[in-house]
Symmetry: C2
Subunit: 164 residues, 2 copies
């Protein structure tokens, strides 16, 4: 088995970094992949997601959810960011595939001080933001790929994703 990157990967340039920044600043949802503690294989679900003004990659999820319990057993995660619109070929719409480790924000002051920023980007979360089982999770990003359309893939290092 080879782990060399495929030959189709392009060098990350300013155009790619601009697209990355655009995808990150506009994202409000993501697909979250985790390792399923029951089977050891992957599991993927949809989550609320955004990057805070100070650059934190963040979600707010119920502690009782399947993915939250999976992340307690193994904090490694992956994110797919960049939702295709109603028009055009969804496979040409740019998206990010990122590798991350998750960290749970402790309840108390740390939890409370993220509330206002989260509600500004996710106003409908006011329905459940104060439920006692909801926790903020921070994604510590290790790297990944930008797929900017057919045959336009870029490898991203951690530095390509710290755009704030």
């Amino acid at each position: 088995m080879t782990t060399d990157p495929p030959k189709t990967l392009r060098d990350t340039d300013d155009e790619a970094r601009h697209l990355v920044r655009q995808l990150l600043t506009t994202a409000r949802i993501a697909a979250l992949a985790v390792t399923d503690p029951e089977h050891g294989g992957p599991y993927v679900s949809r989550i609320a997601f955004s990057v805070s003004p100070d650059g934190e990659f963040l979600t707010l999820i119920s502690d009782l959810s399947y993915h939250a319990r999976a992340l307690k057993a193994d904090p490694r995660a992956a994110l797919l960011i960049g939702e295709p619109g109603a028009k055009g070929d969804p496979l040409t719409h740019p998206r990010l595939s990122l590798r991350a480790t998750t960290h749970v924000v402790p309840m108390g002051e740390e939890h409370a001080r993220r509330r206002e920023g989260w509600l500004q980007l996710h106003p409908k979360a006011k329905l459940y933001v104060d439920f006692p089982d909801f926790r903020y999770l921070i994604f510590e990003i290790h790297g990944g790929h930008l797929n900017a359309g057919f045959g336009k893939a870029y490898a991203l290092a951690k530095n390509d994703l710290t755009v704030w």
Copy 2:
């Protein structure tokens, strides 16, 4: 660590099965989660996806892609199916999280006889359907969840997903 399902899971009823069928018949893309062979954690990307008229859960991907190479090392996969539209809260839009094992369709007759059906559902694939590195993958589905909106989650057995 407990692996009990969360208490919020509902019994799968006809309404849920109807929604499952609707999501499966209209799906043209999915998020595919695999185990990253470099790191052992999850990896997630966007793929073309559809269920064929005879009930095959299918994608067409390049053999050179990161996810194809990951599946060679570990054929376990997960799918997120059900794309939110431009309107409404994307987190209330129903979606499926499915566990699967992937099987590569061998080149030759098996590959060729899926071509027409695939192009009917994915007309833009005519640009690359005949590239020599493209392979059909069949997802053998083991089960999963339907999330039909906030607090409306259902556990799905294999039989709930064989709707053809």
